[in-house]
Amino acid sequence: MIHTVAPLFLFLFLQTPAPAQPAGPALQPELLVDQWFIRLNALDDWYITVNGKEETDAVVDKFVELYSKDAFHEVQPNENQLGHVIFHGQEGIKKWATDFAKKHVHLAYRIDFMTRDEKPTQLFYSTKPPWGGLAAAVEFSAVYTNREDRKRFMIPGSAFFIFDQSGKIQRVRIYMLNDEAEEIEQ
């Protein structure tokens, strides 16, 4: 008898569905992207000690927390490098954020508003990639003052994010339209 029903029990056991994975909270592009801008703008919120030490670590670490361990942060060329510049991993991104924090003050990067039919809104373009997580993009205006020469600029830009399932940034690509940069009043 046991020999007759055993294969049936085995068959039924194998057919039992695995317990469902608890679904995490749905990723909200507005909150994730907003948080990136908040922490980017906080990169000027540090002090110099009375002995001349630049204490950027706290704000930089807070910014880097938003990235996954193997994230990519991709930006425009600068005076130190030609072409597309890629920072990889939290140490690489920490270097970018530290340099950025030490070069700029009065940061006021903001997501642009669009208005149609007298209805203003900030547009967060988002999609779900086939591998999970979330992708999002925004147009923004970069407003900042150079720390050294105290000149203030506004530059239009756009940022494209890929977030993993936990909401950490896997990749961000930032484009700045330097040809449209304008020097503005303090």
């Binding site: 002090y47 110099i48 000690t49 009375v50 001349g52 630049e54 105290r150």
Partner: protein, 130 residues
Amino acid sequence: MIAISAAAAIALSALGQNRPYDQVMKEVGPAYANLKKNLDANAFPAAVQDATKLESLFKETENFWTPFKTKDALDFAKNAQALAQTASAAARDNNAQKAQGAYNALGKACKGCHDSHREAMPDKSFKIKP
């Protein structure tokens, strides 16, 4: 006493060593107040000493900001040195009006730099903004 601390400041500057910035700033207030008091009393030799001390303190201020290349702070510090020099020269010439003018402009230079680079904390202490 003033001469000794000014000499110490000059020696430290010459060695490329900066005193803690708060120490420098805490000496500016009393020296600035003394300059006013001595100018009001037409005590010109004492006013010259005060202005000379201020000049060396603002040189230390400039030294603090030099590695950061922060233009506005460096401009304020250099302008303050020039104004302290003017006050000193005017006091030496017993020219109270000119010395008072430099004293007033010096106050504006201090305020300009504080507005840009000094932030008051809730415990009433101050921090240095980049």
